[in-house]
């Protein structure tokens, strides 16, 4: 038990931070908000040279095979810099491929990811808007050596930049809930795919993606047919906790800016940071962000140990959704009018943290999962010992 960073972890964090401070000024962030792809390929390439995309991928595909906590540290820094990189969607998909896809697919995709040549994403959520796999309606029907996909996916991150995406489909006709689902690797350029960009709070690239008779080879199935739910769920859970790392990183930088502003900005003959009410706002910011960080990295650490972490992921996301949002809102309030102006940079963080709080599971969704584990499964609970794993529906 030592929840503090090791020297190695500290080094990874520091070098990521320094890299982004150097390479990713807010001018670039603003520029990429207007860019059609939303990211600068040169920076993506440099990130690959630092090993970010392959951080937790197997060495045989060019990865570094480091624990997820290291990847979490990098995403935390990406959040801190609000870096316009399709890193989160790429690693979320890539880790799923690495864990569940057949060797051939891994070989086809993962080296490109590690080299910074490939951008990935995933597509689960549909019109219903909820995060988890049981809401999937998109159909994939077997036809010869192929599956034919029809349906609509929403809120697909970085579709405009992605080469491939993992698409959750219903392969058993008439199935409901978590049964009859499968996950496919789909080339984003496949015939029959069209997309509409969405205008989002984060000014990031999300799309509505329409699948009309999109054909995908049977070999692109990830895992076992009709038994994709656990794979999809674990992808979403990993995605959620890695997003928490980004949120925590962004919220902390954002809070630090407010705290610095409070030391310098004067009112009523004092730095505003000398007023107790404002000090308490700042203290709360840090307490909440620390809490979110601890929850996030505990979940990542459990995953690294191969231990169940569903409950811990939900803890982190439900907490970060609410607390990181209040923390960045506090920063805005501390800045008063200036923070409300587009020309001031603070909103770059505020908008992203707010948007991320609405993705990959709302507070209510995650809390319902936790309550299920706590209350519906047998056995007494003891804080600090594992809660029963969420049973498959």
């Amino acid at each position: 038990m030592d929840v503090l960073l090791t020297e190695e972890e500290m080094m990874v964090r520091t070098s990521a931070r320094q890299f982004l401070e150097r390479e990713c000024p807010t001018t670039l962030v603003r520029e990429m908000e207007e860019d059609s792809k939303g990211y600068p390929p040169a920076l993506w390439q440099k990130a690959a040279e630092l090993g970010w995309q392959g951080m937790s991928l197997p060495e045989r595909y060019g990865g570094q095979e480091l624990p997820l906590v290291f990847l979490g540290l990098v995403l935390q820094e990406a959040g801190r810099a609000v870096a316009p990189l399709p890193l989160h969607s790429t690693v979320t998909a890539a880790l799923t491929i690495a864990q569940h896809a057949e060797e051939k697919l891994c070989e086809a995709i993962l080296p490109g990811v590690a080299q910074g040549k490939t951008v990935l994403t995933y597509a689960v959520t549909e019109l219903d808007g909820r995060t988890f796999a049981d809401t999937v309606q998109t159909q994939a029907v077997a036809e010869g050596n192929q599956f034919v996909i029809n349906g609509t996916k929403l809120f697909v991150d970085n579709f405009v930049a992605a080469d491939h995406m993992l698409v959750a489909c219903r392969t058993a006709p008439g199935s409901r809930g978590n049964s009859g689902l499968s996950l496919f690797l789909v080339d984003t350029k496949s015939p029959g795919i069209s997309h509409t960009p969405l205008v989002t709070l984060a000014r990031d690239k999300q799309s509505e993606v329409l699948f009309r008779n999109v054909r995908v080879a049977k070999g692109n199935l990830i895992g076992t047919l009709n038994e994709g739910a656990p794979i999809i769920e674990s992808m979403l859970e990993r995605g959620a906790v890695l997003l928490c790392a980004q949120m925590v990183g962004a919220a902390r930088k954002d809070a630090e800016m407010a705290i610095e502003y409070a030391k310098y900005r004067e009112a009523f003959g004092q730095p505003i940071g000398a007023f107790q009410s404002l000090q308490h706002m700042c203290a709360d910011q840090i307490i909440w962000i620390d809490g979110g960080e601890l929850l996030t990295f505990e979940a990542l650490w459990l995953m690294d140990q191969g231990l169940p972490a569903s409950v811990e992921v939900s803890q982190a996301k439900a907490f970060c959704n609410e607390k990181c949002e209040i923390a960045v809102r506090h920063s805005q309030s501390i800045h008063g009018g200036i923070g409300f102006m587009m020309e001031f940079d603070l909103h770059l963080w505020f908008r992203r943290v707010s948007a991320w709080s609405m993705k990959l599971g709302t507070t209510y969704e995650h809390r319902a999962r936790i309550a299920h584990a706590l209350i519906d499964l047998p056995g007494r609970v003891v804080l600090g010992r594992p809660v029963p794993v969420v049973a498959e529906a």
Binding site: G129, L154, L198, V199, T200, L201, G336, H347, M358, A368
Partner: protein, 422 residues
């Protein structure tokens, strides 16, 4: 205690609603939605005339509203009002605000003119503010004088029968469309800061005024009508040797702090701040109930239902605190802390419901005006960016709590206590 409206007031509300139903034509709606146009980059010259900013449909609508006597109901008849009661005015404000049309003189500067203006100023300004011929930009905040407004530096120096004004204002909403500016400036630097401030009212096309647009984060992309602070562009205003006649002075040289405070206090009463704090409650409930489908609606989610009820109760408290303020005003009383209490509760509620909705709508909550798939034109996403502003503007919730504690409860201020011990 009487928590209802009188039969006359109920009849007025019906009349207003019927009027709106009849007159809210597509042409009007289009102009309301377009009223606060896109902010063009760069500077623009000031001084467009008030009525001129309105399109033909809106101008006609306001004419008709005026003909009913609904603009400035509480103002004396000799200044173009109806000598009516504040509750009736509130009803009119509320119903028009619900469809995005601003009626009434809250935040207009008119209360201060009525309280402190010369007879000439009253006769000049109040009828025209009521009719909409004139509108004021409020020139209060400066880069170094926000919460601590009395710290303002914009200078007005007497020169014969004129004052010469130099300085800068910021977050001057509507400066680009107002006919006049209602300006707080420093006329004496030798006295304690509250005692050297004066208020001036003069046309925005006076020479030497430059208006620079500021784009708010809530308004980019353009916020839909009804967003907390979305429909307002704001500005910086620069004064470079602006010469105004001494008749531009409101309420006497160096008396501006008291005059201005009157204005601010009245500013806190009315339908507008209340409504911006609670509109999202109505929106989300109505959206939930109109979007129920079998089995899996958000309206069936019990955690969401519990939160909705919690928020609805809070919104009712917003309403009741507003009604309390109105009751005090209507009785001719003064606030001890009630206005400040309202200004803590309502904005903080507005933020709580806004953030609660993000966790109901999930990814849909991120969609902004103009995006495919938006819910209610993206108002929920835009609101995330602005709801908290209501807890900052015109006295932050922190300052309001200080006032509740000190004025309302008699708790001592820290400095005095230290001084008293020395």
């Amino acid at each position: 205690m009487n928590f209802g409206f009188s039969p006359e007031q109920e009849a007025l509300r019906k009349e207003v609603l019927a009027f709106i139903k009849e007159n809210l034509t597509p042409g009007v709606i289009a102009e309301v939605e377009g009223e606060e146009q896109e902010v063009s980059a760069g500077e623009e010259s000031a001084g467009r005339k008030g009525l001129a900013r309105r399109g033909p449909h809106l101008s006609e609508l306001y004419r008709r509203i005026g003909a009913r006597g609904w603009l400035g109901i509480t103002y004396p008849k000799e200044y173009g009002g109806q000598g009516g009661d504040r509750i009736s005015q509130y009803i009119v404000e509320e119903e028009f605000a619900r469809v995005g049309i601003r009626v009434g003189l809250v935040g207009s500067g008119a209360p201060a003119i009525l309280a402190a203006g010369t007879e000439e100023q009253k006769r000049d300004f109040i009828p025209r503010l009521i009719s909409g011929e004139y509108s004021f930009a409020l020139g209060f905040t400066e880069p170094h004088a926000g919460a601590d407004l009395a710290n303002l530096r914009c200078r007005a120096v007497r020169d014969g029968d004129e004052y010469v004004i130099n300085g800068q204002k910021i977050y001057t909403t509507a400066a680009h469309v107002a006919t006049h500016i209602y300006l707080m400036a420093r006329t004496n630097t030798e006295v304690p800061k509250h005692d050297g401030i004066s208020i001036f009212i003069f046309p925005m096309d006076t020479a030497g005024i430059t208006v620079r647009p500021l784009v708010t984060i809530q308004n980019n992309p353009k916020a839909p009508v009804g967003t907390t602070y979305g429909a307002a562009r704001t500005n910086e205003v620069f004064f470079d040797n602006v010469r105004v006649p001494k008749s531009a002075l409101l309420g006497g040289e160096n008396k501006g702090w008291r005059v201005g405070s009157t204005g601010l206090n009245l500013d806190r009463v009315g339908a507008s701040r209340y409504l911006i704090s609670v509109r999202r409650d109505e929106d989300i409930v109505n959206w939930l109930k109109e979007n129920r489908h079998e089995g899996n609606s958000l309206g069936d989610d019990p955690a969401i239902r519990d939160k909705i009820a919690e928020m609805w109760i809070e919104a009712q408290v917003c309403r009741l605190m507003t009604m309390r303020s109105m009751s005090i005003v209507e009785r001719g009383g003064n606030f001890t802390y009630e206005g400040s209490a309202e200004k803590v509760w309502a904005p903080e509620h507005g933020t709580r419901i806004t953030e609660a909705i993000t966790q109901m709508l999930g990814p849909y909550g991120q969609l902004m005006n103009g995006s495919p798939r938006t819910i209610e034109k993206g108002i929920f996403g835009h609101n995330v960016l602005g709801s908290f502003q209501s807890g900052i503007n015109h006295g932050s919730v922190q300052i309001m709590r200080d006032q509740v504690a000190r004025r309302g409860l008699g708790l001592p201020s820290q400095r005095k206590a230290q001084g008293a011990r020395k």
